[in-house]
């Protein structure tokens, strides 16, 4: 039987990818950020997940305004890094797990989560930066990845409560897959940041750290927090944090915190990172 063993949450700031790709990770500006992920690289080398269900948002790369799915699951064999306007990131092609992805799509839809099924999709920094942070710069990604894209660009995104329940449904679906697989769920995006307008550069570390605490100890309570609170307190793009609730919903109620890291700034953004293990 497939099982979910752990969850990872991390910001997915594009500048982090650029820093790695351009060989700047050793610079003073970036050193503390990458140092915060060294324990994570060691951890994942030991964990060796077979599949990562990677919850992220597309940033107008695969989805324009022609089609805006709230929840989309990538069922393809592979996903190419997207050209986001300055050429694709020089990172390996992402290999999917179509059998598990289709199984998830079927189970989730019958569990009343109306997933959009995606058979062809490029993946942008939202998906590839977390892979880079956790695995560094390998020639090939060491596991299969099922992209799960959540709309957080067109307001409103799904509610925190809906995301939390989707995570719970993903767990049920994974555990009904017959093959013996070590599966992780990652939630990405956030933390506080605002990229637009006169309030650009907003950072709220008190909000971020309270979110990290509550995500670990009281996810059902955090899931009740309305969008307006995220937007007001964590910035217009800080609302990406609802995606972390999908990861959290897929884990046990009680979890071990294997690693926690918080850093300001990466470009315009506060970076948060958690590794949670089922107890």
């Amino acid at each position: 039987m497939a099982r979910i063993t752990a969850g990872v949450a991390t910001s997915h700031v594009p500048a982090i990818g650029a820093a790695l790709d351009l060989g700047k990770s050793g610079e003073d500006y970036w050193k503390p950020l990458f140092a915060g992920y060294e324990p994570s690289k060691r951890w994942i080398a030991e964990q060796k997940p077979d599949v990562v269900i990677l919850v992220y948002n597309d940033h107008a790369s695969a989805f324009s305004l022609e089609l805006i799915p709230t929840f989309a699951i990538g069922c393809a064999d592979e996903f190419a890094p997207a050209d986001e306007g300055w050429g694709p990131r020089p990172v390996p092609t992402v290999h999917g797990h179509p059998e598990l992805a289709w199984h998830l799509a079927e189970k989730l839809i019958l569990d009343e989560f109306d997933m959009t099924i995606v058979n062809r999709m490029d993946v942008d920094h939202g998906l590839t930066v977390p892979l880079s942070l956790m695995f560094g710069q390998p020639d090939a990604w060491p596991c299969k990845v099922i992209p799960l894209a959540v709309n957080v660009v067109q307001y409103p995104p799904p509610t925190g409560a809906r995301c939390h329940r989707l995570g719970q449904a993903i767990r049920r679906a994974v555990e009904s897959f017959p093959e013996d697989l070590n599966v992780q769920v990652w939630g990405t995006g956030g933390m506080s940041h605002q990229l637009q307008g006169p309030r650009a550069g907003l950072i709220n570390s008190a909000f971020d750290n309270a979110f990290l605490d509550r995500l670990v100890h009281d996810p059902a309570g955090q899931a009740q927090v309305p969008h307006l609170d995220y937007v007001r307190e964590a910035g217009s793009e800080g609302i990406e944090l609802v995606m972390w609730l999908i990861m959290r919903g897929a884990l046990d109620d009680r979890v071990n915190v294997a690693h926690r890291f918080y850093h300001v700034p990466a470009s315009n953004t506060a970076v948060g990172h958690l590794i949670l293990e089922n107890a």
Binding site: A15, A60, R199, I203, P265
Partner: protein, 133 residues
Amino acid sequence: MTEKPYHDIPGTVLFDAEQSRKGFHLNQFCMSLMKAKNRAAFKADERAYLDGWPMTEAQKQAVLDRDWNGMIALGGNIYFTSKIAATDGLSFRQIAAVMSGVSEETYAQMMLDGGRSIEGNRSRKEQSGKDAS
């Protein structure tokens, strides 16, 4: 414009239904800049390239002027308009500095110092209360 609770957040435009409808063609134009050949065509003659899209004159002018806040007000979404920035070779941080009305150095230093504080930036009500006191 229907008044929404989030209109009270200062310096912030949520990309809601109203903005999305207003900005559809502007954002789809931005989307076209994902392709290298379109970026080259845009750079070669911006006005002619823009005239190929059913955008309003105000939207076209905002693009030509690189009026980043103006584009947002006219329905642009930052993830789309940032593709113009990428075409220009500008980073998110550079256009964020422009949108918040400071130099890149000042903006970068603000971020190194922990970012823009939430204090005084939660609501217009809070700001006007402060002004009155």
